[in-house]
Amino acid sequence: MRDKNVGPAGARVVRSGEIRYRGRGDRRVAHILWFEDYQPADAAVLGGKNASLGTLVGAGLPVPPGFAVSADAYRKALADGGLAGRLDSLVASVDPRDPGSVAAAGRQARSLVASVDLPAGLTGPIRDSYARLCGRCDDAAVPVAVRSSATCEDQPEASFAGEHDTYLWIRGGDAVVEHVRRCWASLFTDRGIAYRIERGFGRANPAMSVGVQQMVAPRAAGVAFTLNPLDGDRSQIAIDASWGFGEAVVGGAVTPDNYLVDKVMFTITRRTISAKATEYRLSESGTVEAFDVPAERRDAPCLTDEEVLAVAAVARRAEKHYGFPQDVEWALDDRGVWLLQSRPETVWSRRAKAPRWAAGSDPIASIVATLMNPISGKPERHG
């Protein structure tokens, strides 16, 4: 149920920045940045998603631990392999109205990136960082999500929701390295190429940072908007929730349970429990796959009221941190609610901030209007 209906937006030049490596001594590794060491100046080389995770960790929000591979690593790999110019000309030749042309360019670009050598000195640090994450999580082969974070993503004007790939439940250092490369290649998904051109980002290709983050195996997961996406009501937090991994909700495979929570009173103002036929969970072979939800859980709410409010509280904290409405992904496991992602809400936030309800300055005229049409102000009946 991700919103892709964003309006036109001006191109934004994304410059690569010099990453300043801080952190504790043993983490001073080129192109690797742990989320907790993130500083705003790092944003340009981390992409929207990783910068956001770093910001959220810094704000004390419950984000699973992990690290980012900077976009400079991607750029360096392309430069070392002599690919940058070839990729640019491939995309420059695309006719966005011709799916065949997009697909052909995408296929070639992905194949080029997928076979690129990682820069000398990057595979080791990625493996080492993964090993360190395993130590932190007390799991010799901690499952991680390897997530794309393009340098053009998650701007207020364009969400890039779902344009690039994320890989779930990856275990082992070699697998992590391999999936970093796959994330790079996903910069050239057909939909990603088309989206960038359509949204006016021009033909200059963005770069790809990759996040490596401990995986939560959720009992339930979903998304939350810190406003009501149906009417723009900023006092509400809208939560979509379903069983298992959030992919079922994000990908639209189920009609999720839907809640509205008043963010000031912290009360549930509406709840709609749906039949949830599909859930993503771990298969015996350790992959995340779609399963039928057993009949006894299908129509049952996947969250308790307390859990609904806990999800809302995390979303509200993210919104308060940023100061504007957010669109978050969350997951719930036995330890509580995890925030997996937070990005600016892009639809209502772009509306003009003109006065919408102030009916002139005359209070009597307003009271007359209220008496003439008390229905608009009638105490609401729920249910």
Binding site: D231, S235, I367, M372, G377, P379, E380
Partner: protein, 602 residues
């Protein structure tokens, strides 16, 4: 689902209630004379104030209330879309029908008049409201000063020596007229501010609902509600007395159930006298507090039923002994209110909208003290006196052997009372038998039988053809009746047995139901039960210390149950229409006061 309610002319008289119409004013019953008009109107039962059969004299106060409401709309403030509210009694129950202004041109023509008249009150609210309190207090003093006593065997010698020239029976008649006229005046005062206050509140309410379509009703109420409300003061007094009793080491002295004995035994020892002094001080005015809505003479008033406040006192003493704090944390309450306002304000994007929000909130808070407080002075305090004085008059008629019980007087309409007094006067003046002692015992038996028959009748929630959309402002503002509630009345409860109503106080609770049909039954409530009642009165407040949630048949988010439950942090669903009819005592309920739903879970 039906699309209309029964016509008032289709309603049969309950068996044994024949002749009930004669007990009410001829102008307030449905009749062939106005049938065309009456059948063209939509009538709803006022379950908020009068869920039970209304004894004939009690109808006086209702007629006075409704006529005062009407005259302010129609003749004082010229409410643009609304005239008054028409009233009828059917089988002893009160039905109301708000009269709107249909012609848009006429509505438009009324606007400037309203702006001038209501505008004056809004602009000068604080000054005018400051004058209201002394006015109503003076009226209460006048009511309190009224006395009724039996006619003397001989007029006092002073009547002769002072050349007074009038007799005691004239005083008796005049004093009765004074009592009813003061009651009418009381209701003038009541509606001097009320509808304007509600209108300003509703204006803020409407703005909030536009800006935040899903904002919970109770969030709006919390932003406006006062911190110290006179309506809660009786309860606060009991809390103070409970704390004092524990401090003075008297807690055990309240364990007995005989209130007279408890108070008598406290007297004489120094600690006990100290406590009794505080108790006496709290009584006036705060024990002029009705355990019901105040609209029935049978509603129990604390002052005359000290076992009610003593029962609440015992419960509070137990809480103090358990180490609980009874005082409301005022600073926390104020801080929470400020937080709520600041957070919603912060969510409004434009400066103009923020300014409008603040201005409307400001006016709502200006008018709201009246909306919150008037109820104590009118329905509780003044009504308590009116009922007491009427009972005194009843005693005069018991002494004259017209009646066997003082309360028999409430089986007379207010128009009959002067006739009865004149019969008494006649016998006294002539020195011959009055007819009353032979007539009234038989007639009272007949009337009591009629009342019993009427009580067995189940009144429909409404009569006639409902309008497609309820737009009449006072139907919505004062009675909380909307197009939705009418649809619900027509459709009955939902198929799965769940009920919906107003989300009046947030939270979710489960527990066994206790259906309580009148104030007399509140003693049956046990710890952790869910109170299911036609409505609650704020005087039930102390029972809210032990129940888990409240469900009412009638009332909106500003109903007594809603206000008190928010105060006590209990979930409440109000205005379910069918709660007491469909729920049985002992059933387990799940009450969701945030969503406004009640579900039977076993």
């Amino acid at each position: 689902m039906a699309d209309r309610f029964p016509s008032p002319f289709e309603m049969p008289t309950p068996p044994g209630a024949e002749g009930w119409q004669d007990l009410y004013a001829y102008s307030t019953v449905f009749s062939e004379d106005r049938r065309e008009y009456e059948e063209s109107m939509f009538w709803f039962m006022d379950g908020v104030h009068t869920p039970e059969v209304i004894p004939p004299w009690d109808a006086t106060i209702l007629e006075y209330a409704i006529i005062a409401l009407s005259q302010y709309n129609t003749r004082h403030y010229v409410i643009p879309p609304a005239l008054g509210v028409d009233i009828r009694f059917l089988n002893g129950y009160m039905y109301l029908s708000p009269v709107g202004v249909a012609d848009p041109e006429e509505i438009g023509a009324r606007v400037p008049e309203f702006a001038e008249r209501a505008g004056y009150y809004f602009q000068n609210w604080d000054r005018l409201y400051a004058a209201w309190m002394p006015k109503v207090r003076a009226l209460i003093d006048e009511l309190e000063a009224i006395g009724f006593s039996p006619l003397p065997h001989r007029e006092d010698m002073a009547v002769i020596t002072e050349g007074r020239g009038t007799g005691s029976a004239l005083d008796l008649l005049s004093t009765y007229h004074k009592l009813v006229d003061l009651t009418l005046k009381l209701w003038h005062y009541h509606f001097e501010f009320l509808n304007l206050g509600y209108a300003a509140y509703l204006d803020f309410f409407g703005f909030c609902k536009q800006a935040f379509p899903s904002i919970p009703d109770q969030a709006i109420a919390k932003m406006v509600a006062g911190i110290q409300v006179d309506l809660f003061q009786p309860d606060e007094e009991i809390k103070k007395l409970a704390t004092l009793a524990v401090e003075l080491g008297l807690a055990d002295r309240f364990l007995a159930s005989d209130s007279v004995a408890i108070l008598a035994e406290l007297s004489g020892d120094p600690q006990g006298d100290k406590w009794l002094a505080a108790w006496e001080e709290a009584k006036q005015p705060w024990f002029n507090f009705s355990a019901g809505s105040g609209f029935y003479h049978s509603d129990k008033v604390w002052l005359e039923n000290l076992d009610i406040p003593l029962g609440f006192l015992r419960a509070y003493i137990a809480k103090v002994q358990r180490g609980e704090t009874l005082e409301r944390p005022m600073e926390a309450v104020i801080a929470e209110r400020d937080r709520i306002v600041a957070e919603y304000l912060d969510l409004i994007d434009s400066a103009e909208d923020r300014a409008a929000f603040e201005a409307k909130l400001g006016l709502a808070r200006t008018v709201f003290p009246y909306v919150e407080n008037h109820n104590f002075y009118v329905e509780h305090w003044a009504h308590s006196i009116v009922w007491r004085k009427m009972r005194d008059l009843g005693r005069v008629l018991v002494a004259a052997e017209f009646f066997t019980e003082p309360d028999d007087i409430f089986l007379l309409s207010r128009h009959e009372v002067p006739e009865v007094l004149f019969d008494l006067y006649h016998g006294w003046a002539v020195g011959a038998p009055s007819r009353g002692p032979r007539y009234w015992p038989r007639e009272m038996a007949r009337r009591n039988a009629i009342m019993d028959a009427l009580r067995k009748w189940s009144p429909p929630p409404a009569l006639g053809v409902p309008p497609e959309v309820i737009t009449e402002p006072f139907t919505i503002m004062l009675w909380g009746i909307t197009s939705d509630s009418i649809a619900q009345w027509l459709g009955g409860a939902t198929a799965d047995g769940s009920l919906s109503g107003f989300a009046a106080s947030p939270g979710v609770a489960e527990g066994p139901a206790r259906v309580i049909l009148s104030a007399d039954g509140i003693g049956e409530l046990r710890e952790g039960e869910i109170l299911v009642a036609p409505l609650t009165a704020p005087s039930w407040a102390p029972v809210f210390g032990k129940i888990a949630a409240t469900v009412t048949d009638v009332g909106g988010i500003m109903s007594h149950a809603a206000i008190v439950c928010r105060e006590y942090g209990l979930p409440a669903v109000t205005g379910t229409a069918f709660g007491t009819k469909t729920i049985k005592t002992g059933q387990r309920l799940r009450v969701d006061g945030s969503a406004g739903t009640v579900t039977v879970i076993d």
